[in-house]
């Protein structure tokens, strides 16, 4: 009898504890100290260090591997089943969709904060959930161009002669921002019968885009060109959180186009790798990391725009404003499937 009572008590205790655990959400979910290996492209400028320390406070033991977005993508593809990676964060929708298509990620139950994220940013099938959003802007130096003079949308650059040579055209097509811009332009000309799914008009447009730009000077960023009186460049691509930083650094004021079709958003997300051996801990980390609390702290620290709307108030006003531009309607799966082929064609045929 005593045994049964003890058993029942024990059961009740365990159940109540698990109920308690279930009740905990977001930043309250503590880690167990199991080592998690995390790949990210968003780790420099002290982000990796900050995250490692902050997570340690809540019981997480992180090993963070930081590399460029393309390198993270390559690495995950190449490492295949041997990858030590448990969780990935950062990247962008194009890469996320490529990783999904390659069956590298695992779909997970929506974390408690999933509903707090702006609509349309999370993966509908639950493979990745958004944490930071970056508007990919057509930026210009507002000291030298008034909003009236400035281009209103990307096609203005090649269609209006006044902008020729005044904007930067890329020489490397592997970067995330560049690929988002290209996706934003090319997906306006989707044509299932066209070459690589793009109509001839679209390819001509891309050709014009590259023909009339000033090629990037490798190793020198857009803003250095803007302030350089010897360079004709005033216009180029920029991600939203970068705009503020560069303004501060170069003492300029970034202006940006607000196209009718909206702008592409590079959605930094978080996802769990299919082959992880620490799924439970990984899931706890996702729950913790994406929470309004942590994302708010992250945003405060690094001046980014959180995807989590509850954390959005912590973001700088300028970010909130930039990220209020509507998102362009882009079929990311289509982009992910074709972007390499598109880039290949551009490199061979259109680039200067």
């Amino acid at each position: 009898m005593k045994k049964i009572v003890a058993l029942i008590l024990a059961l009740v205790f365990v159940l109540s504890m698990s109920a308690l655990a279930d009740a905990a959400t977001g930043a309250d979910v503590k880690g167990t100290g199991v080592e998690l290996t995390i790949y990210t492209n968003s780790g420099s400028s002290g982000r990796a260090d900050w995250l490692k320390e902050r997570a340690a406070q809540d019981g997480y033991n992180l090993t963070i591997v930081e590399e460029g977005a393309g390198a993270v993508q390559q690495r995950l593809i190449n490492e295949g089943e041997a990858t030590p990676c448990d969780v990935v964060f950062g990247l962008n929708a194009i890469i996320w969709n490529d990783l999904i298509a390659r069956d590298i990620l695992v779909a997970i139950d929506a974390p408690s904060w999933a509903d707090e994220v702006s609509e349309g940013l999370n993966d509908p099938n639950g493979y990745y959930y958004a944490i930071v959003k970056q508007a990919i802007l057509l930026a210009y130096d507002s000291n030298q161009l008034s909003p009236e003079e400035a281009p209103k949308d990307w096609p203005d650059l090649w269609e209006k002669e006044e902008f020729w040579t005044k904007y930067e055209s890329q020489i490397k097509l592997t970067g995330g921002t560049t690929r988002n811009v290209l996706a934003g332009i090319l997906t306006r000309y989707v044509d299932p019968d066209g070459e690589l799914g793009i109509s001839e008009e679209g390819w001509n447009a891309i050709g014009e885009f590259f023909a009339h730009g000033t090629p990037v000077e490798d190793g020198v960023d857009l803003y250095a060109q803007m302030v350089n009186e010897n360079s004709p460049v005033l216009i180029g691509q920029m991600w939203s959180s970068g705009a503020d930083q560069y303004d501060q650094q170069y003492g300029v004021k970034t202006g940006y186009a607000v196209p009718e079709v909206g702008v592409p958003y590079a959605v930094e997300g978080v996802a769990i790798v299919k082959t992880t051996k620490h799924f439970d801990e990984a899931q706890r980390f996702v729950e913790w990391f994406g929470s309004a609390q942590i994302q708010g702290e992250w945003s405060e620290q690094f001046k980014t725009m959180p995807a989590n709307e509850l954390a959005a108030e912590k973001a700088p006003a300028s970010q909130i404003e930039m990220c209020s531009i509507p998102a362009q309607d882009i079929d990311w799966a289509l982009v992910a499937a074709n972007i390499d082929a598109w880039c290949e064609k551009i490199m061979l045929e259109y680039m200067q």
Binding site: D49, Q73, Q74, K172
Partner: protein, 582 residues
């Protein structure tokens, strides 16, 4: 002069210990060459050209139809030969200035000319841009005199050629200088005695002795020209882009079709390299211009007799010095500045601070890559040195045998492909279990990058070490054996000590070269242990990162220059002194 015996006979004569050693070494080499080079490369070619089981040559078609690819290819093939000539000219001048002519301040000049040994790539080109690009020191100076000049003059073919001409003289400063030191001064005296002018002596007596070394370093220059990367990217502008940046971009894409483009372009470069090597080997076979004299006398620096020429040569020597040194000085200065000023090339002392250095040295994540790179580079330099010494020893002993030739050419394989493609081949081979790698996937292991590092340094090490081996006096080995020493003992006690200075110099060069590697590391590094090259690259990755990354890359560059300089001093500075004693 040793009469050759068939392998069978040799094996029969070996002691069990020798046999065991021979067997183990043979197995190690055959396995290493097959498993780490031949099979992965074949696998890569199969993957990209035989997708779905049929040979696909689409990539050739695509490339031949692409004006950009064709132009880049043409540019590479214009750059390589012209660069060989200009670098040859400057390289010979450096050697003559530091070793042959009596030039005031030659010790300082030498240090200046050796700066290319401690930095390269993007850092070096940025250093040149600080001077010649718009807002550069020299451009500003000139535009104050000629206000109408085009300030963006430093771009295109000539700019690339200029930068690379001065940056590719490292091998001349080491190997050609060594050759100059080996010149028998009595031949110079003899020529003078016969009434030859200084110019004639230089042209007919001294330079011919340098010719074999000059050939060897010219090959290296040619390959560097073909695979040019940073200089065309940074100063090539619209009209002068080359092939290697294209290869790298295609290789970094995830589709097979892009990779096959990269492979195709690589094969074209590889073919050119192969032809060149064949020509060089043929020339080499025609014979060495080794000094025949028994009693060599050390070179005495020649004072230039014609006073006008003397002054001109001094001006030339010091002008070269300035060209070499100012970029280094500016890089060091700018490393104290911030990203914005670096990119605008504005040297403003008010922006100077130690903040970047502090940040870098205080954070583990920032300095750990340093340790990783140092350890990997040192390990690889030692391993590659050891492998090549063993191989050279075999080639030396079994000269002209089929196995020796096969071994020599096998170790040259990595020159056929750019390092990006080598990395890719390793990656594709070892991201799954392979029987030839004991069924263990190597992906995400520490050894994968080490294998890569060792492989890409094989050809260079091979060429240079072999040259040292072949200039050895065979009688030393005979003498040692005659005194009863076994082959191994002879090698350890007699031959290796003689080779040591050269071996160390090569190892130092390899170490410095690998320290900043990006091409291989990005594909092969262990996830938790990124190398310096990867770290630096991630600093300037666009999205989501601080815009101060550029400044940090300069801090890294300066720290690496310091490490490289120390290594060179330890190894070469002291080795150099030994050489002088001889």
């Amino acid at each position: 002069m040793q009469a050759k015996l068939p392998l069978k006979v040799r094996l029969k004569r070996m002691t069990p210990r020798q046999m065991a050693l021979f067997g183990v070494l043979a197995c190690v080499f055959i396995w290493f060459i097959m498993a780490c080079m031949v099979l992965p490369i074949l696998n890569l070619l199969k993957t990209v050209f035989f997708e779905g089981g049929t040979l696909s040559l689409d990539s050739f078609q695509k490339l031949f139809k692409s004006p950009r690819a064709m132009k880049a290819l043409t540019n590479s093939f214009i750059l390589a030969p012209t660069l060989s000539i200009t670098v040859g000219f400057v390289g010979i001048s450096l050697v003559l200035i530091t070793e042959y002519f009596d030039i005031k301040g030659s010790a300082i000049l030498r240090l200046g000319y050796m700066t290319t040994l401690i930095y390269g790539g993007v850092t070096l080109v940025s250093g040149y841009k600080f001077i010649y690009s718009d807002n550069g020191v020299l451009t500003n100076l000139m535009s104050s005199v000629f206000p109408n000049m085009d300030k963006t003059w430093f771009t295109g073919y000539w700019a690339v050629l200029f930068v690379m001409t001065f940056s590719c003289t490292s091998n001349h400063m080491i190997f050609l200088r060594n050759a100059m030191r080996a010149v028998d001064f009595q031949t110079v005296e003899a020529a003078r005695n016969m009434g030859a002018s200084q110019w004639t002596i230089l042209r007919r007596v001294v330079l011919p002795v340098l010719l074999p070394s000059l050939f060897a370093v010219t090959i290296l220059t040619f390959i560097t020209g073909l695979c040019a990367m940073s200089a065309p990217l940074l100063v090539g502008g619209k009209e002068f882009q080359t092939i290697n940046p294209m290869i790298q971009q295609f290789a970094e894409m995830t589709t097979t079709s892009a990779k096959s483009l990269a492979a195709t372009l690589s094969l074209i470069l590889g073919l050119a390299t192969m032809i060149l090597l064949a020509i060089l080997t043929a020339i080499e076979r025609r014979g060495h211009y080794m000094s025949v004299s028994k009693v060599k006398t050390k070179i005495v620096k020649q004072k230039i007799n014609n006073p006008v020429v003397n002054v001109l040569v001094h001006i030339y020597a010091w002008a070269l010095f300035v060209i070499y040194v100012i970029p280094v000085v500016l890089i060091v200065l700018f490393s104290f500045s911030d990203s914005a000023h670096i990119q605008q090339r504005q040297l403003d002392f008010s922006t100077f601070s130690l903040r970047n250095y502090g940040e870098l040295l205080s954070k583990t994540t920032a300095y750990r890559p340093f340790l990783v790179s140092i350890i990997y580079s040192a390990l690889a330099a030692v391993i590659v040195g050891a492998l090549v010494i063993v191989a050279c020893r075999y080639i030396q002993k079994r000269r002209n045998s089929l196995s020796a030739t096969a071994l020599e050419y096998s170790l040259m394989i990595p020159w056929l492909l750019p390092s990006t493609m080598i990395a890719l081949s390793l990656l594709l081979a070892f991201n799954q279990p392979r029987w030839y790698m004991f069924n263990k996937p190597l992906i995400a292991t520490l050894q994968l990058l080490l294998i890569g590092y060792v492989i890409i340094k094989l050809p260079f090490t091979m060429r240079m070490t072999k040259a040292a081996f072949f200039s050895l006096d065979n009688a030393l080995e005979d003498a040692s054996k005659n005194l009863g020493a076994s082959g191994l003992y002879t090698f350890r006690r007699v031959i290796f000590p003689v080779l040591l200075p050269t071996v160390m110099a090569i190892a130092a060069l390899n170490f410095n070269g690998l320290l900043t590697d990006y091409d291989l590391s990005v594909f092969l590094h262990h996830p938790a242990n990124p190398t310096l090259g990867v770290k630096i690259k991630s600093l300037t990755e666009e999205m989501g990162n601080s815009s101060d990354g550029v400044a940090l890359t300069f801090v890294y560059a300066v720290l690496m220059m310091i490490i490289s300089a120390i290594v060179l001093y330890l190894v070469y500075g002291r080795g150099g002194k030994d050489n002088i004693k001889e």
